[in-house]
């Protein structure tokens, strides 16, 4: 037995159709204003109102079906997982630069100690701590 479940695309097309019908009824009412009684015009306006609301309901249904489709969710899950890998890769490469920073600080400290300059030593120690913490 064929499925009677509405698809996102079907709901979208229904929305467009109802809205276009709403416009057609409205234009008919305005084009035939003088031929229609006030009661008839009111009835047509009520139909227009209902058609517009139906169009809006179908559009909302269409969007919900689109966003919650299983294939959409699967694509999102896959992409999120790959993004995590890429972020880790970036961190790994940033770590290499950090290693250079730590080595630089270590050698600067070594040079300062050899020089025996207390101010230079203090500055170098500060630099080493910063590099490690970065």
């Amino acid at each position: 037995m064929a499925s009677t479940k509405l698809t996102s695309e079907q709901a979208f097309q229904l929305s467009q159709a109802y809205s276009q019908l709403r416009e057609a009824v409205g234009n008919y009412r305005l084009d035939n204003w003088n031929q229609l009684t006030p009661a008839q015009r009111q009835k047509l306006e009520d139909y227009e109102w209902t058609l517009a609301t139906n169009a809006s309901d179908f559009l909302q249904k269409s969007v919900v079906l689109l966003l919650t489709a299983p294939e959409t969710q699967q694509a999102v899950n896959n992409i999120v997982a790959t993004t995590k890998d890429l972020v880790e890769a970036v961190k790994t490469l940033q770590g290499i630069n950090k290693i250079f920073g730590v080595l630089t600080a270590a050698f600067t400290l070594g040079g300062a100690i050899i020089s025996g300059n207390p101010i230079a030593i203090a500055q170098a120690i500060e630099g080493a701590i910063k590099a490690i913490k970065a």
């Binding site: 979208f12 929305s15 467009q16 809205s19 709403r22 416009e23 409205g26 305005l30 204003w33 306006e45 009520d46 227009e48 109102w49 209902t50 517009a52 609301t53 169009a55 809006s56 309901d57 559009l59 909302q60 269409s62 969007v63 919900v64 689109l66 966003l67 919650t68 489709a69 294939e71 959409t72 699967q74 694509a75 999102v76 896959n78 992409i79 999120v80 790959t82 993004t83 890998d85 890429l86 972020v87 890769a89 970036v90 490469l93 940033q94 290499i96 630069n97 250079f100 920073g101 080595l103 630089t104 600080a105 270590a106 050698f107 600067t108 070594g110 040079g111 300062a112 050899i114 020089s115």
Partner: protein, 323 residues
């Protein structure tokens, strides 16, 4: 003899590896970075586009209910305040029901359903944008540019005074070459793997977001525009049929306001359409990267990707017109 051959073999293997590294060290991925930068601009505009589903829905029912209350000023103010009501349960109003039998409260409740879909759509958009940004970050040249680090390291080693400057420079050069080559090789492998595995998913997700904005949001705006048009058409028609003198200037003034409001809606439609085209370029660009995944750093790929980056850049002003 065996020792000699073995050393020769080691040397030739080392030379071969060096040549391979030379070839892979020249990686120009900056074009990918530019493409991803432009593509992720959509992340800045998406929330404004998506949240307008709800606002458009409320504008739609306002146009209808203004006529229902015969433009009574006090009731029009109440209609305008509806979106600000935090608790609709038990809310009392004298605003008559619509032609569809629904009260304005029921219409507001329907509109608030758009806030739920907005939340869902924002998550989808974030997933795509985070991925594109991460690709761009991995493709950034400064990630494996160790020039400054190695220069600083060289300076620090010099201060110790143990090595000669020429040896330090040679060491720096070799370290720079090997570290950049090795990490670029690894970096390009990671990028290739991500693009290869996720091309279909990127296309699926981007198509969903494109449909959401460029088709469904545009349809929402078209339906809003219909209600706007009938607000003014009905009003002008009623004015002309009321009997007595019809002031043409009044009609022209009203028409001018109608045109201005229509123009605003049309600009939103243009912006949403531009957003759809941006996503087309994201899908195509990513797919081209997939097709060229074996040669991501090549000149041809660079030119091609820069082309997509430029196309996205050209569409951004239209996107920004209304948002």
């Amino acid at each position: 003899m065996d020792k000699f051959i073995s050393k020769k073999k080691i040397l030739s293997t080392f030379l071969l590896l060096t040549i391979m590294l030379v070839n892979s060290s020249c990686v120009d991925l900056e074009a990918i970075r530019k493409f991803t930068e432009n593509a992720s601009v959509v992340s800045q505009k998406f929330p404004a586009l998506s949240s307008d589903f709800y606002d458009s829905c409320t504008r739609q029912y306002r146009y209808q209910f203004y006529q229902r209350v015969n433009f009574n000023a006090k009731l029009m103010q109440e209609i305008d305040d509806m979106p600000n009501q935090t608790n609709l349960d038990g809310y009392q109003t004298t605003i008559p029901r619509g032609g569809d039998g629904l009260s304005i409260i029921q219409r507001e409740v329907k509109c608030r359903e758009w806030k739920k879909t907005d939340k869902a759509a924002l998550l989808l958009n974030k997933a795509l944008v985070d991925y594109i940004k991460a690709l761009g970050e991995l493709a950034a040249d400064d990630l494996t540019n160790y020039d400054k680090s190695l220069n600083d390291l060289g300076t620090s080693i010099t201060q110790i005074g143990v090595f000669e400057a020429k040896h330090i420079d040679a060491g720096k050069g070799l370290a720079k070459f090997i570290s950049s080559a090795a990490t670029n090789f690894w970096r390009r492998k990671k990028l290739k793997s991500a693009i290869e595995e996720r091309d279909k998913d990127v296309s699926t997700l981007a198509e969903v977001l494109k449909k959401y904005i460029a088709a469904m949001y545009v349809e929402q705006l078209v339906q809003e525009r219909r209600e706007l048009d009938f607000l003014y058409k009905n009003t002008i028609q009623a004015y002309q049929n009321q009997g007595g003198n019809v002031n043409q200037l009044t009609i022209l003034t009203v028409k001018s306001k109608w045109d201005a409001e229509r123009k605003e809606l049309n600009q939103k439609i243009d912006s949403a359409t531009a957003y759809g085209k941006i996503l087309d370029n994201v899908i195509e660009g990513h797919h081209k990267l997939y097709e060229s995944r074996e040669s991501l750093g090549s000149k041809e790929v660079k030119q091609m990707i820069l082309g997509y980056a430029k196309r996205i850049e050209d569409l951004i002003p239209t996107l920004r017109k209304a948002f």
